[in-house]
């Protein structure tokens, strides 16, 4: 830091810049804390009233002031995990495909552009698409499946179009570009020398991809997965349009369900008294869930970095 006696114009500008950067980063943290504080303050009556039982309570009955968030917690976790399960393999495959030279450059550029365009579609449009395209498909597939394999708890009928699976499928499509784009850039960032080295040692292209390039890019792929999971958990509009918004606890893929985000979007407008507080508590749970995912992700990230450090 320059001392006040030797301030020159350039040094002053530099200080201003540094000051601005600090202020901006502090402001970001402050806003986050402010949001948390506001939610906590509103949630306080419900926190005191229901405590931890809120998390394990399976009934959400606003007119009787009984609030348990378990069905929505289960819905949130299931939809995002299923979405990730559906989106991850093709997402990573597309990323590998686009980072290799299987196709001429311009064609790859075009495909990359198209995949990333998926991220730019507003979620309400995904919701509408889900209503007109995915729901009828899931309805018929679900009816067929639940009639034959209904004894499996996850496939129990009766099958609804607005269901856990419908929401998961559309969520999968929404998080696909996140997985692909970030994985692709980390794959592209793998130094050429590593690939050349692998070839020089006589490995085939697939050996080079799976043994060298993918492990090297693993931290980026993990980061992509965490971001995708976070997006899936917080998605509101498309889910509220597709999941059937049922507060009943259910594990069947073809049954209507609900997520924390869709619960908030649905009920906040007309909520009063304790219901507002319970919704704020639910928001707090959602924030905490996201935090847990991020921390777990960070841990996995560090682990992968350490395990693949030898390659880098």
């Amino acid at each position: 830091m320059a001392s006040p006696t030797q301030v020159r114009p350039s040094a002053a500008r530099f200080d201003l810049f540094q000051w601005l950067c600090r202020a901006a980063s502090l402001a970001a943290v402050a806003v986050l804390l402010w949001i948390l504080w506001a939610i906590l303050e509103q949630a306080w009556p419900a926190l005191r009233e229901f405590g931890a039982g809120f998390l394990s309570g399976a009934s959400w009955v606003p007119n009787r002031d009984r609030y348990g968030v378990l069905p929505f917690l289960v819905g949130t976790v299931l939809t995002s995990l299923i979405a990730l399960l559906i989106a991850f393999p093709p997402g990573l495959a597309i990323a590998i495909f686009l980072s290799e030279d299987f196709l001429p450059g311009p064609v790859r550029q075009f495909m990359r552009f198209v995949v990333e365009l998926l991220a730019a579609i507003p979620s309400v449009v995904y919701g509408l698409w889900g209503i007109f395209v995915v729901i009828p498909i899931i309805q018929s597939v679900g009816t067929w499946t639940s009639e034959r394999f209904g004894s499996v708890p996850f496939l129990a009928g009766p099958a609804y179009g607005n269901s856990l699976l419908t929401a998961s499928v559309v969520l999968a499509l929404m998080i696909l570009p996140t997985i692909t784009a970030i994985s692709r850039s980390s794959l592209v960032a793998v130094p050429r020398t590593l690939r050349e080295g692998a070839y020089a040692l006589g490995s085939t292209r697939w050996e080079a991809i799976f043994r060298v390039i993918l492990p090297t890019a693993a931290p980026g792929v993990v980061a992509a997965t965490i971001l995708a999971l976070g997006r899936a958990m917080g998605e509101t509009m498309a889910v509220a349009m597709l999941i059937g918004n049922s507060p009943r606890l259910s594990f069947s893929l073809f049954a209507p369900s609900g997520t924390l985000a869709s619960l908030l979007a649905n009920q906040f407008g007309e909520a009063e008294g304790m219901q507002v507080s319970a919704l704020m508590y639910a928001a707090l749970v959602l924030v905490a869930l996201t935090l847990v995912v991020n921390i777990a992700g960070e841990a996995v990230l560090r682990l992968t970095e350490r395990r693949t450090a030898g390659i880098r």
């Binding site: 009934s59 959400w60 009955v61 606003p62 007119n63 009787r64 209503i131 729901i135 009828p136 309805q139 009766p158 609804y160 179009g161 607005n162 509220a240 349009m241 059937g244 918004n245 049922s246 507060p247 009943r248 209507p256 609900g258 869709s262 979007a265 649905n266 009920q267 407008g269 007309e270 909520a271 009063e272 219901q275």
Partner: protein
């Protein structure tokens, strides 16, 4: 022709406008299309008064009203006694319009469905699961009801529509009252939820075998068949503006004008209808604002009522208009 009128318009825009009186209101979403239409039509007649109504929901409307941040509020559930007491300058309830909640259904090849009281409650309790259930079939001897499951659609968001509908179910079925109860947001034991009247309408249209409750106007506009509902006198009544008005006329409004025609005994009345209220303060310190507000509401209660039917609402019976006008007179 075009140019002078454009110049005129520009002059009108540039010239300092008359000191406009802005009336701001907030509240129920159900009557919002009508209130907003009133605002537009009234502004054509009295350009100096602008009415800005925000459909933020009954709950938020009551909140805003009690905080005193709006000139008037609006609520499908009126005000409770506790809320009345909390109003900073005293509160006056003015019934402004009314609506019916209808049971809209999607059963290919079936129209003219009649639902008995037991059938209606059973469907929404989840005890009646198939369309050809004897409880439904008994009232519909001429209909070929399929053996398919009944898919129930309800409002996932809090709403005055749910309030009115569940209030009726709770009145006709002690079991429903016990298991579910009534409010703006309840937990039904069956079915799927859609957001808003349009969300439920979409659910019904999309899946054959679905039945759900929506405002009359939505079912009418979307041409979805509506069920005739058995009223207290044992008659099956179709929802129409006339049968709704018959229900409203059967209520004796108390002094605070807060009453619901819950399960009315009138023989030709549609049983699931309700008023929706404007919330006014007892005293307005600003005389100009008071006059503008009173004039606007007088318009709404007279000429405004003629717009109600075309938008799917029920015009207020004359006896109610008279009482509403009397209540408006007490505002000063």
């Amino acid at each position: 022709m075009k140019i002078p009128s454009l110049t005129l318009l520009l002059t009108a825009l540039v010239a300092a406008p008359l000191p406009a009186q802005q009336l701001s209101g907030a509240g129920a979403t159900f009557p919002a299309p009508l209130y907003q239409r009133w605002g537009v039509e009234y502004n054509k007649q009295v350009p100096a008064v602008k009415v800005n109504y925000q459909s933020v929901g009954s709950g938020a409307g009551v909140k805003n009203f009690l905080q005193g941040v709006v000139d008037f509020g609006a609520s499908d559930a009126a005000l409770t006694d506790a809320e009345m007491a909390k109003a900073p300058k005293g509160a006056v309830l003015i019934p402004a319009t009314a609506g019916s909640v209808v049971l809209a259904y999607n059963l290919p090849g079936v129209t003219g469905l009649k639902l008995s009281r037991a059938a209606l409650a059973g469907i929404f309790l989840g005890t009646i699961k198939k369309w050809n259930d004897p409880a439904i079939a008994a009232a519909n001897p001429g209909l070929a009801l399929p053996a398919t499951p009944i898919n129930v659609a309800y409002r996932s968001d809090g709403s005055g529509t749910t309030y009115v509908f569940t209030q009726h179910l709770a009145a006709i079925s002690p079991e429903f009252d016990d298991q579910v109860g009534f409010d703006k947001s309840v937990t039904f034991p069956v079915g799927i939820g859609g957001k808003g009247n349009e969300g439920v309408t979409a659910l019904i249209k999309q899946t054959p075998g679905t039945i759900g409750y929506v405002e009359y106007g939505f079912a009418e506009q979307n041409k979805i068949p509506m069920a005739a509902i058995e009223n207290k006198s044992g008659n099956f009544v179709m929802p129409t503006p006339e049968s709704g008005a018959a229900a409203l006329a059967s209520v004796e409004l108390p002094e605070n004008l807060r009453a619901w025609p819950v399960d009315t005994a009138a023989p030709d009345a549609y049983p699931i209808s309700s008023f929706t209220w404007l919330l006014l303060y007892k005293k307005y310190p600003d005389a100009a604002k008071l006059k503008a507000l009173k004039d606007f509401i007088t318009y709404a209660l007279t000429e405004g009522q003629t717009l109600a039917t075309s938008l799917g609402y029920i015009p207020l019976p004359e006896s109610v208009v008279a009482k509403a006008n009397a209540a408006l007179g007490t505002v000063e």
